[in-house]
Symmetry: C2
Subunit: 597 residues, 2 copies
Amino acid sequence: MRASLVLSRRDLDFLLHEWLEVETLAKRPRFAEHSRETIDAVIDLASRIAVEHFAPHNRTADEHEPHVVDGRVQLVPEVAAALRVFADAGLAAGTLDEELGGMQLPQVVAKAVTTWFQAANIGSSAYPFLTMANAHLLVAHASPEQVQTYVPPMAEGRWFGTMALSEPQAGSSLADITTRAELQDDGTYRLTGTKMWISGGDHELSENIVHLVLAKVPGGPAGVKGISLFIVPKHLVADDGSIGERNDVVLAGLNHKMGYRGTTNTLLAFGEGVHTPGGRPGAVGYLVGEQHRGLTYMFHMMNEARIGVGLGATALGYTGYLHALDYARTRTQGRPVTGKDPAAAPVAIIEHADVRRMLLASKSYVEGGLALGLYCARLVDEEQTAEDAADRERAHTLLEVLTPIAKSWPSQWGLVANDHAIQVHGGYGYTRDFPVEQFYRDNRLNPIHEGTHGIQGLDLLGRKVVMGGGAGLRVLAEAIAATTTRAAGTDWADLAADLDALTADLVRVTATLWSAGDVDVTLANASVYLEAAGHVVVGWLWLEQVLAAEGSTGDFYDGKRQAARYFQRWELPRVRPQLALLESLDTTVLRMDTGWF
Amino acid sequence: MRASLVLSRRDLDFLLHEWLEVETLAKRPRFAEHSRETIDAVIDLASRIAVEHFAPHNRTADEHEPHVVDGRVQLVPEVAAALRVFADAGLAAGTLDEELGGMQLPQVVAKAVTTWFQAANIGSSAYPFLTMANAHLLVAHASPEQVQTYVPPMAEGRWFGTMALSEPQAGSSLADITTRAELQDDGTYRLTGTKMWISGGDHELSENIVHLVLAKVPGGPAGVKGISLFIVPKHLVADDGSIGERNDVVLAGLNHKMGYRGTTNTLLAFGEGVHTPGGRPGAVGYLVGEQHRGLTYMFHMMNEARIGVGLGATALGYTGYLHALDYARTRTQGRPVTGKDPAAAPVAIIEHADVRRMLLASKSYVEGGLALGLYCARLVDEEQTAEDAADRERAHTLLEVLTPIAKSWPSQWGLVANDHAIQVHGGYGYTRDFPVEQFYRDNRLNPIHEGTHGIQGLDLLGRKVVMGGGAGLRVLAEAIAATTTRAAGTDWADLAADLDALTADLVRVTATLWSAGDVDVTLANASVYLEAAGHVVVGWLWLEQVLAAEGSTGDFYDGKRQAARYFQRWELPRVRPQLALLESLDTTVLRMDTGWF
């Protein structure tokens, strides 16, 4: 596959360098080894490996989904081969400290790298990205000994990691997990329970699998306050770091999905007695940090994972858009509406306005989504490495408020881009002879996992915009205002004025919702709030992009400008009826009696 | 499967009897044999066969898609068995004249029947419904001898029919078909060419397959004016009606689709010389009607097929909604936002506002879509059997303007209902252990076939609303006004006022678009026009429904009223920014240079 069908390097370069000016990060001690050259080199490397080793088996892995033979999960061999290349290139540890085997890349660069792999093959790329999120959590919250034991093998790509939160009866509601962890005399724990939806939960790709498992220690508080976090390796690890005996965690079943099939997704049983580590049943687990603080630690990882999900949704939408664009330029069909002379040759379908509408809409979604994801990753760098404490705090707050949007907006609109990509292909797009139908199936997962769309809405309206006395929304409004101020005197003053007005409305509507005097009413339409806020945020980032393009000429920049105009004229007007609905404290849904369905 | 998961009989009875008062059709000579009892009996029969014989193999047919063994298309055996039951019940000929073996059912009843089968198993139901559309076309345009030869075996379910329009290089643009038909001395034609996307194009389900093929007779006019229509049977038919020698039409390949897999979809080669009917190569074809009028005849069928596609999209959305509703009533998860006590038992997820939002939205889409499809079918009856010529003409005009909406609106919003059904199920909905993912894949075809979404937009704005000096839009506006007038003094006066205002805006915007002085500008955003008009139409039909429910009490009617309120408060406001965009004669898409992508 051509690299130009996977992701746009030109756009990525624009976002990273012309807009986010990532090489300025090299002034900070942590990134002192980096420069424009090293950043470009790692993206060159990533894009080459993604295109040459990941994209070619994307369809194969979809057609031959994981299955079990003799108790072992079988994947097509191309997956292991690609992951080996990935790890050998050092990409499994991009952001980790050098002393742990990492490259100490800025998060924003690391996310640009991951987006290449997600666009090339979302299924295979999930294994290392879950592993990285696991490693990051350990670095942040585990003991130095735990970090030394588990992180370097993951950084080398020899061991993989998972996140084991959900259970069959408890997905969105982690308060209800029932997996138990009982303290042993030696300070370890023994876990019993069942975990559902565990991606990468079992396979033969790595020497070991490090599960990070949420469980409850008996006697703790009820609900989420009684959740603790444990390391539960598939194989116990000897003191010298070598693989020891088999832990009592076993595969209980595979989930068969509509898409995203390359990523094996499992039901895992802990403490069933299938294995007897130390001579007796029970899955051996090691507490991370303190008891009962597991969910807090996990949210550290979840925020990273949510931005990653959003970027994955963008990546799938992006590659679908590029495929549709390529098809539209080459497929001929019909004639212009003003020149229906049947003797004239058919035109490329990109000449038809409705095809161009779908492509332009998609461009605005996927380039907007990529800007959003990279902006958030840049905030992570700011949160972690800004010199000034106030800057770090501000970045942290802005990131908190943007995270539900960074997760959900691309999951919604990247999927629309995938829908358009099928439509541009016509009947061919509906067949498995073209890749766009798979992108559509793959992307449909993203509004579900790592917190559903509805959960993100509650997170944004119920928590994020009101936290710290409204600091979240205030910081966001200030960031938008800083941009719109810069638009004064440019061609974009009207877009800036639209955004100022919408932001003011959003702030006012938020206050109205929270003065409803009834939390049920306040939160009833949180998904609408999420979607309205998302469009305002992406509109803002489109203004950011065109301001970064001010004074630059050529097709690329003209395309950015037209996409921004599209977003202004076609997309932002969707927000007004949403805000009006919210401001009216509409209770149509709330008052729908369940007996009336 | 429970019938209540396939379709709502209660809703169907409401629409047919309380709203459309279909039994009044029995006053007309054609339907004199029918009554409330016969109508209910045929729907009872259809629903029972759909639930017992079609629904059970819906997943099986998806998992084991058609494939070729020794040159023959293999389907799972349940398909043939179900179609046998269907035909034996007389359902293959519901609307045909009694003398052709039919039941002379009103179209509106026949469509209620087909919706049951589409909801139960869209893939298997396509075979008879394509056959019926084929038979209807022959009855309308073929010679009496052709009708006698081909229609009764199709009415008995012994022969099946197809529509062969598209070619690999010509889908939306039929002007460019290249299949040739050469007149022979005996008055027959010989066809050579390749047809693509032919559903039911080859299989072993029937004794014969009657292809209706568009082709060009050499020397005719260029473009669509040179297209003629031919009957090309798979097996030639002897004078006594028995199956004769094999015609020269062969399977050239199967298309492998994302969904809708139960319906075999084929590439067919005509006149390849694989068979030699009459001792020489060339597919024998029989002209239907006159030369060069083929597209006109085909549109007779296409309008029927488009309403059928819309109902199929509604049916898939409807069954998805019913599955989601059932799941939401039984699956427990989490607690109310105002009562997060972890010691309290989890609630059924229908108690969560965001789940109820998705269900209520879906209810408004699928019940609105069903009302739209049945209303159009009722118009077909009016067009064909109204006593007064002016009534027939009015019905014809209204049907013309509604057809692109009846095809596209459910294809868009029924799919949203399927999307919501997955989301309500969470991760489970994304697995193949639950049926909702298949409904979503199946339904994604509907915005593509029988004229894409973009083609419907051009049809509506470019032809239908301006035909007859604007008669199409005028008749629609009058029909809406007749309803809103009836709403005076009811609880629905505000919805009526909204609809009056939106209709006036739609009329004004239409005039503005057509006074642009540049057809490129007029038609640039035709898809937006289609979507805006669609929402106005469905809003109108929601008003029709609640007026039909006036004075009736109970959960069912309260549900109708709340869904209408939802549509008024949540859906109709989407239309305003669409109309504003259209009124501005926005050229953002039109002016997007293809080099800027």
